[in-house]
């Protein structure tokens, strides 16, 4: 096992910090009562050892810079390096959030302009950059629903409708925002069941949360009918933007009936995923919901930018400051780089790559929904033979040098494999991936133990999840 705790610790490292240049007066000392008595047993590594350790750890990881990462609804596309460089310019990274507006004109202008651009992409009116992740955007957006109905005296609207294909954050965000959830079935064609939707719509419904295209990778062809029906019932439409890569540059959620839409900058706008964050989940809203947006807002007046706090109907704040500014800068740079033609190239090639892979694989795996997909598609790992599961397929893919696709989601497809290649993959990579998947399907029939034993070439063999769940060991026993 290779945590830093296994390496020899040093407690005599010198020269790490500057020498103190002010007097230390005993009358300033912390009183006994407050002073730390419990030992602090944090080990230290000398810098060369530290770098060795974390470099070794990094080599146990697989990032999108290593290879294809076809996780459905995650949009693991290439992260342009120039964006990282620009985000860490010291004029941005050394600025304290409590700085006066005069010191922050550059960053305020950038954030304001990003908001304008995101609003245009969404086809909606106002944007808030505060949410630090997609789920955070969902929560913030649903708070706007809550405030909207509160202001109208409409206190009975306590339910949110969700398709049964919804990502887990959707119902979790709805609960967090104080709503209960109602599931709407998906038809065998992979579309929201509109008659079931209509039956579920009554005046206890605050709104619907939709992912467009849905998590099967299919566009809701009757989307306008859906949003019209929801609006006619007096409710609002929230669109989860996780799958924006499918139509950015060609269509806008605001034109589909969305009232609130969230972006995942760490998906569609190519900011690095970081092993689980930091992300950024800005929300775009229709004008009449803007008064409820969190404070502070970033306002522009004749080329001068300010933070505005005066918003009596605001839901409050959902972040200690203005959101993940460092991430927002990367997304802004990305938009400038791509421009309109580049954005169109994104969805063009995202959908091309996904459909190509689907065409290569549909003869070898069950494809529950035939026909063209958008930027992702779902296969089922059922009936491959040899009693193997989707999990085994995923683990075996590691031996072929690929990160597995999303597995066991959406829940409505048994043994699901959700595959999203993104636009930054070459045809050659897709061909190699397809060959690997086809080889694995053959192995399932002829040598299933190869799947069940997988992975064999990863840094570790298959890890015991049950043990971790039953007897979790959640920290190193320091100093014991």
């Amino acid at each position: 096992m290779n945590t830093m705790f296994e390496r020899p610790s040093r407690d005599d490292i010198r020269g790490l910090l500057p020498t103190i240049d002010v007097p230390s007066l005993p009358e300033d000392d912390l009183p006994e009562e407050l002073t730390r008595r419990q030992p602090l047993r944090l080990p230290a590594l000398a810098e060369p050892e530290l770098v060795r350790h974390y470099t070794a750890l990094s080599r146990l990881n697989y990032g999108v810079d290593n290879g294809l990462y076809p996780l459905g609804s995650c949009t693991m596309k290439y992260n342009p390096k120039i964006n990282d460089e620009l985000s860490s310019l010291s004029a941005f990274s050394s600025l304290h959030p409590n700085s006066c507006a005069a010191d922050a004109q550059g960053i305020l202008q950038l954030l304001h302009h990003l908001g304008v651009l995101l609003g245009r992409i969404a086809g909606l009116d106002e944007v808030c950059l505060q949410p630090a992740a997609g789920a955070h955007g969902e929560f913030t957006g649903l708070l706007l629903f809550k405030r909207y109905f509160e202001r109208r005296g409409d206190v009975h609207r306590t339910r949110i409708l969700l398709p049964d294909s919804a990502h887990g954050t959707n119902p979790a965000s709805a609960s967090l925002a104080g709503f209960t959830t109602v599931s709407v079935p998906t038809t065998s064609e992979g579309q929201v069941d509109i008659s079931a939707l209509r039956s579920a719509l009554d005046d206890s419904v605050a709104g619907i949360m939709l992912t467009v295209p849905n998590t099967l990778g299919l566009f809701e062809r009757r989307i306008l009918e859906i949003t019209d029906a929801v609006h006619a019932a007096g409710a609002l439409c929230y669109f989860d933007g996780a799958n924006l890569n499918a139509f950015i540059g060609r269509a806008r959620p605001g034109d589909m009936g969305a009232d609130v839409f969230h972006f995942n900058l760490h998906k569609t706008l190519a900011t690095p995923h970081g092993g689980g964050g930091p992300g950024s989940g800005p929300i775009a809203v229709r004008g009449d919901l803007a008064p409820y947006l969190p404070v502070p807002r970033i306002t522009a007046n004749d080329g001068e930018y300010r933070l505005a706090w005066d918003a009596p109907d605001s839901v409050g704040s959902t972040h200690s400051f203005f959101g993940n500014v460092g991430v927002a800068i990367k997304a802004y740079a990305y938009l400038l780089e791509l421009g309109d033609l580049g954005l169109r190239d994104v969805s063009d090639n995202a959908c091309l790559n996904a459909n190509y892979l689907q065409a290569l694989l549909k003869a070898h795996y069950i494809l529950p929904h035939l026909g063209l997909c958008k930027h992702e598609f779902v296969l089922s790992g059922r009936d491959l033979g040899g009693d193997v599961s989707t999990l085994d397929v995923a683990k075996r893919l590691m031996d072929y040098g690929f990160h597995p696709p999303t597995v066991y989601f959406p829940l409505i497809v048994p043994e699901a494999l959700m595959i999203e290649p993104t636009e930054t993959e070459s045809r050659d990579t897709l061909d190699r991936f397809a060959r690997a998947m086809i080889a694995i399907a053959r192995e399932a029939r002829e040598e299933p133990e190869r799947l069940r034993d997988a992975p064999t070439t990863a840094p570790v063999r298959r890890l015991d999840q049950t043990r971790a769940a039953r007897d979790p060991i959640l920290r190193h026993p320091l100093g014991e």
């Binding site: 066991y408 999840q465 049950t466 769940a469 039953r470």
Partner: protein, 127 residues
């Protein structure tokens, strides 16, 4: 022996063993197989009063959560606290050591709405 004939079953994959008004409840072989390795069981409090369809207990595996619903109304009189340290008993012996709760029912007649072993098998699509 997958579905003992002396037990009753529900469409939510619970089994019931009757002893007068005391009903012992657990989950079936099918249910524990679907869930996978059970890692945690959340038991109700003794004395809790439940209506039919209420959540009695929660069974968790690594990848899923299953609700054990009250098949009849009643009061919880016993819970299998052994499951707190050995949740895997549900996988190993679902009808014996893997029992979950005992309720005292106020409506024993509703047992007629439950399924026989044969009917449950049919529900599962087995013969």
């Amino acid at each position: 022996m997958d579905y003992p004939t002396e037990l009753r079953y529900t469409k939510d994959h619970e089994w019931l063993r009757t002893d007068g008004e005391r009903i012992t409840i657990g989950i079936t072989t099918h249910a524990q197989k679907e869930l996978g390795d059970i890692v945690f069981v959340e038991l109700p409090s003794i004395g809790a009063v439940v209506a039919a369809g209420d959540n009695l207990a929660t069974v968790e595996s690594v990848k899923a959560v299953g609700d054990v619903l009250a098949p009849l109304p009643g009061t919880v009189v016993e819970t299998n606290v052994e499951l707190e340290s050995s949740p895997q008993m549900i996988n190993e012996d679902p009808y014996g050591k893997g029992w979950i709760v005992v309720i005292e029912t106020s409506a024993p007649a509703s047992l007629e709405d439950t399924l026989s072993a044969a009917a449950y098998r049919e529900l599962l699509g087995e013969s």
